[in-house]
């Protein structure tokens, strides 16, 4: 038994979204002239020539940004019910959410001061 309302729009969006790449690729396949030149196999037709392979080791500094992102991503889960029920909760809940965010901003300031966000 499905009781949530409004999700038929989600279903419609999903159907249309899944049709878009299929239609775009088939339409271009039907319409485009077929060429067998060497330019066709380049990654960027009129851009830079790619250098080296794509399977490389990335800089470890990216991981710091990922960790900070993950913390604030999990914070979103806690703030989501507050945002949905905002009109029923009032000013006190707003202050409580501000305290919640302020505690996390301390962590962001710590990471900032420690140079975790620097790109030296």
């Amino acid at each position: 038994m499905f009781v949530l309302s409004g999700y038929e729009y989600l279903l419609g969006f999903l159907l249309i979204c899944s049709l878009v790449p299929v239609l775009a690729l088939t339409a271009s396949k039907v319409l485009r002239p077929s060429s067998r030149g060497p330019e066709r196999r380049t990654t960027y037709e009129s851009g830079m020539e790619p250098v080296g392979g794509a399977w490389i080791q990335f800089n470890i500094r990216y991981y710091m940004f990922a960790l900070v992102f993950v913390i604030f991503d999990v914070e979103t889960v806690f703030l989501y019910p507050w945002a949905v029920a905002f009109h029923r909760l009032g000013v006190l809940a707003f202050i409580e959410a501000l305290i919640f965010i302020a505690i996390l901003v301390i962590g962001l300031v710590y990471a900032w001061r420690k140079g975790a966000l620097e790109w030296s």
Binding site: L11, Q57, V70, W82, A85, I99, L104
Partner: protein, 198 residues
């Protein structure tokens, strides 16, 4: 207006096929990046199944936490270690494979027994709240306020711990630079190599 029974059934079949297919792809693909992206597909399909069970907050949390956080971390970890190397073959591989198979089959048997023994009938007399997320929000900011604020302290601890752990190598590099006379070799990983990686 709600989704009709037939649409729900078809959606469930599609989602189940997606979950099982993507999970098989996670296990069977050779390139670990493909496995990581398909793992994201598994998580998103499971979020769809949660939606069909009327659990929209759990579905949102599933997408935010599993796809947004855990899968991103897995992808970052793969990006950082993804270098093709010829590893030496592990001696006595069949022991590892056999034990993994035993654990998997045991888990499958356990879950099958649980599936057949559980009574799946739902008590429909208990009315579900009209707006589940708003109800969760009201409880979170009235009776569960202290755990809510403690969760932010927990997240703060996780953030500071992550910063300390991830910066440890650089701090060791600094101390050796102070103690030793010669400048210590930088422990940082090189920037993108310009020559093709073999």
């Amino acid at each position: 207006m709600n989704l009709a029974e037939g649409v729900q059934f078809v959606s469930f079949i599609i989602l189940a096929v997606l979950v099982i297919g993507a999970a098989l792809g996670v296990v069977l693909f050779d390139k670990i990046v493909y496995s990581a992206f398909l793992l994201g597909g598994v998580f998103i399909s499971i979020a769809g199944i949660y939606l069909l069970q009327n659990a929209d907050f759990v579905a949102a949390a599933q997408i935010l936490v599993y796809v947004g956080a855990i899968n991103v971390l897995i992808l970052f970890a793969i990006m950082l270690v993804n270098k093709k190397e010829n590893y030496a073959p592990i001696p006595r591989r069949w022991i590892r494979k056999g034990s993994a198979a035993a654990v998997s089959i045991g888990l499958f048997v356990l879950l099958s027994i649980m599936l057949t023994r559980t009574h799946w009938s739902v008590d429909l007399s208990v009315a579900s709240p009209a707006l589940p997320i708003e109800t969760i929000g009201e409880h979170l900011f009235s009776d569960y306020l202290l755990p809510f604020e403690l969760a932010s302290v927990l997240l703060l601890m996780a953030l500071i711990g992550a910063v300390v752990l991830a910066r440890r190598e650089e701090i060791e590099g600094e101390t050796t630079a102070i103690v030793g006379e010669l400048p210590a070799p930088a422990l940082e990983l090189p920037e993108r190599p310009r020559e093709p990686v073999a």
